[in-house]
Symmetry: C2
Subunit: 229 residues, 2 copies
């Protein structure tokens, strides 16, 4: 995908193009490339796992992220390792960014067919540091709105000192795939008569009751966009 | 850590030794090396993110795992990429294995101080394929029991064909660290009078009601070890 294809108004394909890296060697039927599905999985997550290579060895770190159209943004202190490495790397830092939701535990009659129901997205690409001030501000808004939609409008925006202390990296959604498992166990026909309970334990989603900060002033109630969660 | 330190009966240190790779450049106060804490974080997770290097670029894949004392095990089809690569690699495949729990969304008055409460473990090391049949069987039990404790005793063990189709890799817990954020937002003193709601939204944990398989025979009730979840 060219840079221009991520600009508003440019028609986009409804699916990402599979590549050698995004076609699994196994369970090909679980792979998907639909753009809306990929975006939905990304938008539902809070933390991605960002992989990069340091001194020849892999490093995988959990970090927040945000999405603007077909770009992902990750931020961090200007002193943190991947951000520093991206700033120094020219023409960018090869990364792999992965987001996974565990939806359920799949208990089969056979040990072999135990599994989990999950939805994941894997993005391969080159991360670049964002230097344009407008793009950086928009990326930081996207990061806050990724935690809670609408929150960037109900918080104090970053000031100059905070902007200077924060590095943001950009990763275009181009070489990307989703992978999903849904449904019940796939037991072997000869195991169906075994006496073991079999089925799926769905993981609970959602939130427990909000915990106001100790220093929250009396009279500041929970805003509607949080109550709706 | 030497190989022998993972054998039963050998005294172990109560903490992992920090290394250059496991001491963060930022937020050092969030890092921890306590062995029991590391094990607890690992045992609570279902999916790890396994990073390795392929053709010079990072790859991060979600996968199940299990722990036996100070060793982690990951399994997969003998045809899957990381498993194949581990089998071919001599003296092993450099990996980074990361497990993360998102515990809450931290909403500060300033966009800059938005964060999440989390607990993560990052393991650096060299993965080796398990060739010893007894170790392989024990690892597969650990993988099933990691999904639901006790489940390996209530399912059909892998047969010869299944064992042959499954590759298991081992990663010693040696160069490992935990990282945690807990508590409320850390707003700047000058922001305390701002009118924004501030606090933590805790993520729900646990399970929804079990979904029995369509072909579960009538009369097979939910076992106690599942009802207890």
């Amino acid at each position: 995908m060219s840079e221009t294809s991520t600009q508003p108004g440019t028609p986009r394909a409804t699916a990402y193009t599979p590549t050698d890296r995004t076609v699994p060697t196994r369970s090909k039927e679980r792979a998907a490339y639909d753009r809306e599905l990929v975006h939905a999985i990304l938008d539902e997550g809070y933390v991605c796992h960002l992989g990069f290579v340091r001194d020849g060895a892999p490093v995988v770190l959990p970090t927040l992220y945000g999405r603007v159209s077909d770009r992902l943004y990750v931020h961090g202190s200007t002193g943190s390792r991947p951000l520093r490495m991206t700033g120094q790397a020219d023409p960018g830092l090869p990364v792999c960014l992965t987001v996974t939701h565990v939806d359920g535990l799949v208990l089969a009659r056979s040990a072999f067919h135990h599994s989990i129901n999950y939805r994941s997205v894997v993005v391969h690409g080159i991360a670049h540091q964002v230097t344009d001030p407008d793009e950086k501000r928009a990326a930081l808004d996207a990061l806050v709105d990724h935690v809670v939609p609408g929150r960037s409008l109900d918080s104090r925006p970053a000031n100059g000192k905070e902007l200077a202390a924060t590095a943001v990296i950009r990763l275009d959604l181009d070489e990307v795939s989703a992978k999903l498992r849904t449904g019940g166990p796939n037991d072997e026909p000869e195991d169906l008569a075994l006496p073991h309970w079999t089925g799926v334990l769905p993981l609970a989603k959602g939130f427990d009751a909000p915990v106001p900060a100790d220093d929250l002033a009396p009279g500041i109630g929970l805003p509607d966009y949080l109550a709706a969660l």
